[in-house]
C-alpha cells in the first residue's frame, strides 16, 4: 500500500500565533541587547582603526605578541586553581547544609551569600588590608606578595564561593532517600555510598559549579585590575587595549579570545546537562539526614571556618570604611560616608544604582520569565525557540567590559534608531538585564520545568487560553522562583562595574562606578564606605525577600502545605 494519505494541515490558532509573536519579541530584545552589539564589536576584530576590512591581520598581530600566550595561560591557570579550591570547599559547605544535622543552617546559608551581595572591589580592598605589605595578617603569606596570582585567586575564591555553593546546595538537596537505603541494605560502606550514590547525583551540579566558577574568573576584570599587580590576564588585556591604548580592534580580538574558554566551559555544561537525564525520578523520597557526630562535627568546623573567613573579610572592609586613613591614622570616623566630599555624584550615585537595579529587576524578571515560559510551554519548539535558547545562554560567557564596549559602538552608531537610549538610565537597565540573563533564564526554566507538563493541555481542553493558565497557575506557583530571579537581578546590577563603566551619562553614574573612582582617587576608605553601603542595600533587599518570603508563602503558597 502506498502512502497516499494527505498530510494534515494543522490550523494554528490566533492565540498560538500571538504567543509566537511574543517569542519573536523576546528574540528582538535579545538581538537588540546582545547579538547586534556583540556583532558590531566583533566586526571590529576584522577591521583596522579606520574601519577598513583587514581579514585576520589583527589576529596575526596579536598571536605574534608574546603577552597573548602568557595572559591566556595566566587566565586559564588562575581560573583552574580557583575552581579547584572553590568547588570542594563549596561542596563541603553545601553538603553540610543539606546532608548533615549541624545547627545554624539558616545562618550559614545567609552568610554564604555575603560575597554576591558586595561589589568585587570590597574583597580586594579587604585583602589588601589583611595581606598587603602593611597587612594585619601579612606573615601568613611567608613573604609572598598578595599583588599577583595569590591575591587574584584569594579574592576570586571569596567572590565565586556563593555561586558554587548555591548550585551544589540545589544539586545535593534533590537526593533520593531510597538509593541510600538500598546502598545500606547492600552493606556498602560510607565511603562507597558517598562515591556511588552521593557523587553521581551531584555530578551535574559539580560540573555546573565548576563551569560557572571558571567562567566567572576568566571574565572578571575588577579583581585582577585592583589586586593583580602587573600579572596579565585576558580580562586586563582587554582593559589595556581599550582603555590604555584606545585600540578597539585589538580589544575586540582579545574579547573574542576571551570568549573561547568561556564558550568551551559553556559547551561542557551543555554536554553535562544532556547526560543528566534520568538521575532523579519524579517519585523520589526526600532524604532526611540523621545526626552523626563523626560527620557533623567536622562539617560544622568547616562551616564555621568558611563563615568566619567570609564574615571576616566583610568585617575588615566595614572597619576599613570607618578608619580615617589606613594604615597611618586608624581613628574611627563616619566622614567616609559623606560621599559628597569625595565624588560629585555623592549619595545620588546610590539612588541611581537603586533605580537601575529596580528597573532591571522588574523588567528583566518579566522578560526572562515570560520568555522562559514561552520556550518551555507557551510556544515551544521550532527554529525560533532554538535561537532564543541559544542566545539566552550566551551572556554568561560575555565579559562585562566587552558587553559595555559593544553597547557604545552599537547604540551610539549614528544610523541606529535606538540611539536615543544612549546615555539614559534605560540603556543601563537593558545592559543589566542582558548581562545577567543566563542565570535568570536557567532559574526560570528550571522552575517551569518542574510544573506538570499537561497544565496547558488541560487548559486547552477546557478552552482556557494559555495566557490565563500562565497568569492563574504558572506565575502563582513559581512566585518564589520569580522573587529569586528579581533579587538576583537587583543584587548583580547593584554591584556590577565592568559593563556600565562606558555607559553611564552625566546624571546616571552608578554607585559601583563611584567605588572604582574613589579608589582610583586614593580615597580607599570612602571607596570601602560606598562598597559597604551597596552591601547594606543588597543585604536589606535579600533580607526583605526572606522576610516577605514568609508572607508570600502564607498568602500564595498555602497549597503547598499538606
Amino acid at each position: 500500500m502506498s502512502d497516499l494519505a494527505l498530510p494534515v494541515r494543522v490550523q494554528v490558532p490566533l492565540e498560538q500565533r500571538l504567543l509566537r509573536l511574543g517569542l519573536l519579541l523576546a528574540l528582538a530584545v535579545l538581538l537588540l541587547g546582545l547579538v547586534l552589539p556583540l556583532g558590531t564589536l566583533l566586526l571590529r576584530a576584522f577591521e583596522d582603526a579606520d574601519g577598513h576590512f583587514v581579514g585576520l591581520a589583527n589576529f596575526v598581530a596579536y598571536v605574534a605578541t608574546p603577552s597573548l600566550r602568557i595572559a591566556a595561560w595566566n587566565s586559564l591557570w588562575t581560573a583552574a586553581l580557583t575552581t579547584i579550591i572553590v568547588v570542594p570547599l563549596a561542596f563541603g559547605f553545601a553538603y553540610a547544609l543539606t546532608r548533615s544535622c549541624i545547627p545554624g543552617k539558616g545562618i550559614f546559608r545567609a552568610v554564604m551569600l555575603l560575597p554576591v551581595l558586595a561589589p568585587s572591589l570590597l574583597p580586594a580592598l579587604a585583602l589588601i588590608y589583611l595581606f598587603g605589605n602593611q597587612g594585619m595578617l601579612r606573615v601568613l603569606l611567608f613573604g609572598e606578595s598578595i599583588y599577583g596570582p595569590a591575591g587574584i585567586v584569594a579574592a576570586q575564591v571569596f567572590y565565586c564561593f556563593p555561586h558554587a555553593a548555591l548550585i551544589l546546595a540545589v544539586a545535593l538537596s534533590t537526593a533520593d532517600a531510597r538509593l541510600y537505603e538500598a546502598a545500606e541494605v547492600l552493606k556498602a560502606g560510607r565511603a562507597r555510598i558517598f562515591a556511588t550514590v552521593t557523587l553521581p547525583v551531584a555530578r551535574y551540579g559539580l560540573v555546573s559549579a565548576s563551569v560557572v566558577v571558571f567562567t566567572l574568573v576568566v571574565t572578571d576584570f575588577g579583581i585582577p585590575k585592583v589586586i593583580g599587580g602587573q600579572f596579565p590576564v585576558l580580562a586586563t588585556d582587554v582593559y589595556k587595549q581599550v582603555v590604555g591604548l584606545q585600540n578597539f580592534n585589538m580589544g575586540a580580538v582579545v574579547g573574542l579570545v576571551l570568549l573561547l574558554p568561556a564558550i568551551g566551559a559553556f559547551l561542557l555544561d551543555r554536554w553535562a546537562d544532556g547526560q543528566r537525564a534520568g538521575t532523579l525520578s519524579g517519585r523520589a523520597v526526600p532524604y532526611v539526614p540523621k545526626p552523626r557526630r563523626a560527620r557533623d562535627l567536622p562539617l560544622l568546623a568547616l562551616c564555621l571556618l568558611v563563615s568566619t573567613a567570609l564574615v571576616g573579610i566583610v568585617g575588615v572592609a566595614i572597619w576599613g570604611s570607618l578608619v580615617t586613613f589606613w594604615p597611618y591614622n586608624l581613628t574611627l570616623t563616619l566622614n567616609n560616608y559623606d560621599f559628597d566630599r569625595f565624588d560629585t555624584a555623592g549619595w545620588s550615585a546610590l539612588w541611581t544604582s537603586v533605580r537601575i537595579a529596580l528597573a532591571a529587576a522588574v523588567c528583566g524578571t518579566a522578560l526572562v520569565f515570560t520568555t522562559a515560559w514561552l520556550l518551555e510551554r507557551g510556544a515551544p519548539g521550532g527554529k525560533l525557540g532554538h535561537a532564543v535558547r541559544f542566545i539566552a545562554g550566551l551572556p554568561l560567557a560575555v565579559p562585562g567590559l566587552v558587553l559595555g564596549l559593544a553597547f557604545i559602538l552599537f547604540f551610539n552608531h549614528p544610523a541606529n534608531p535606538f540611539g536615543f537610549l544612549y546615555g539614559t538610565l534605560a540603556i543601563l537597565v537593558l545592559n543589566g538585564m542582558v548581562h545577567f540573563y543566563t542565570v535568570m533564564h536557567l532559574t526560570a526554566a528550571t522552575a517551569i520545568r518542574q510544573l506538570d507538563p499537561e497544565f496547558e493541555a488541560v487548559g486547552a481542553s477546557l478552552k482556557v487560553p494559555a495566557v490565563v493558565t500562565f497568569g492563574r497557575v504558572t506565575v502563582p506557583i513559581c512566585l518564589p522562583a520569580i522573587l529569586d530571579i528579581a533579587v538576583y537581578a537587583f543584587v548583580n546590577v547593584m554591584t556590577t562595574v565592568s559593563a556600565v563603566i562606558f555607559l553611564y551619562g552625566p546624571d546616571t553614574k552608578p554607585a559601583s562606578v563611584a567605588v572604582v573612582h574613589m579608589d582610583e582617587a586614593g580615597q580607599a576608605s570612602a571607596a570601602a564606605a560606598m562598597a559597604v553601603t551597596i552591601l547594606a542595600v543588597t543585604c536589606s533587599v535579600k533580607l526583605l525577600q526572606l522576610a516577605s518570603g514568609g508572607l508570600v508563602e502564607r498568602l500564595t503558597q498555602r497549597w503547598r502545605r499538606r
Binding site: 518579566a366 564596549l405 495566557v467 546624571d507
Partner: protein, 343 residues
Amino acid sequence: MFRRTLPAAAFALSCAIAAPAAEAQQRTRLTVYTALENEQLAPFKRAAEAAVPSIEIAWVRDSTGIITARLIAERQNPRADIVWGLSVFSLLQMEAQDMLEPYTPRGAEALRSNFRSDRSPMTWTGMDAFVSAICFNTVVAQQRNLPRPSTWADLLKPAYRGQIVMPNPASSGTGFLTVAGWLGAQGNDAAWTYMTQLHENMQVYTHSGSAPCNNAARGEYGMGISFDMRAVTLRNQGAPIEIIVPTDGVGFDLEATALIRGGRNAEAAKRLADFAVSRQAMELYGRYYALVALPGVQPAVQNYPAEFEQRLVSQNFRDVALRRDAILREWSSRFDAKSAPRN
C-alpha cells in the same frame, strides 16, 4: 490578560524609573567630558557657571583612559560638547582622527606658545601642566632605611630593589607621560637603557595611573611614580608622603580644553572654551597646579620648588603623540613579557 498587562505595567514602571527627570531650564546644558579630579569638579562648575550664566555643566568624569576610549568610541555620534581637562596626548590622538572642532577662544593667543595648539584656528588650548612625580612614603623609608631620591637616576640604586611601583604606560596616561619624559630628557637610547635598569628595581607595573601613589601612601610600597596632583589629596588625608619632582628633567602633560566636532551645543561650548583660557580660570587652575598656561598667573598651590618650570623637559607634544604607538610597542616587548611578579 495578565500576560499582556504585566509587561505593560513593568515597562511603564521602568520608564517611570528610568526617565531622567525632565528639568525645565533656560540655560544650555553642556555635556562636558573630563578627567579632572573629583574635588575639582564642584569649584570648576561653580566658577564656569558664574562666569557664563547661559550654561549649565553636566560632567562625565572618568580616568583619562576611559574618557578617551569613550570619546573615540562615540566618534561617529559624539555625545560630548566639549572636553575640559583632559591630557593633551589624548586630544592630539583625537585631532589626528579629525574629532576636534577648530576654534580659537577669545584671548587664547596670550597663552604660552607650547601650551596651545599650533593650528589656526586652534584645536586645543592648555590649562595647566601636570608632571610625573615620585610619591615617597617617609614612614616606610625610615623603616627600611631608604634614602630620599631627588633625581630619576637615584631610582636605580640597588637599595630600592622591589620598592618602586609605576603605571604600565600601555594602560595609563600617567605611565606614558613618564616614559615620554625620560625619552625627551635623556634621548632615545639612554632612556631605554635607563628603563631596563629601573625594571630591576620595579615591584609592579599597575594598570592605573593613581595606583602607584595610592599604594605608596598606604605604605604598600616605598615609592610610586605617579603625577603630582594625586599626592595632594592623599596627604590631606594624612598619608605620610612627600612629593618629589626629580631635578633631572620630568615629563609633563597638559590638561587642555577642546571642542568636539559634531557637538550639539557648539555656541555654548565656545563660551565655556573662552572661559577656560581666561585669567579667572587660570587662577582656579593655579589652586591645584604649579604651572598654568597663562604667563603671569601666580599659582596658589604650595610645596612646589621655585625652579619647577625649569625642571620640565621641553617636548613636542604632537611629535610624541605620533610616536606613541611605536613607543608602547617597544616598551611592551621589553617589559610586558617579563610579567611574573617580582619580589
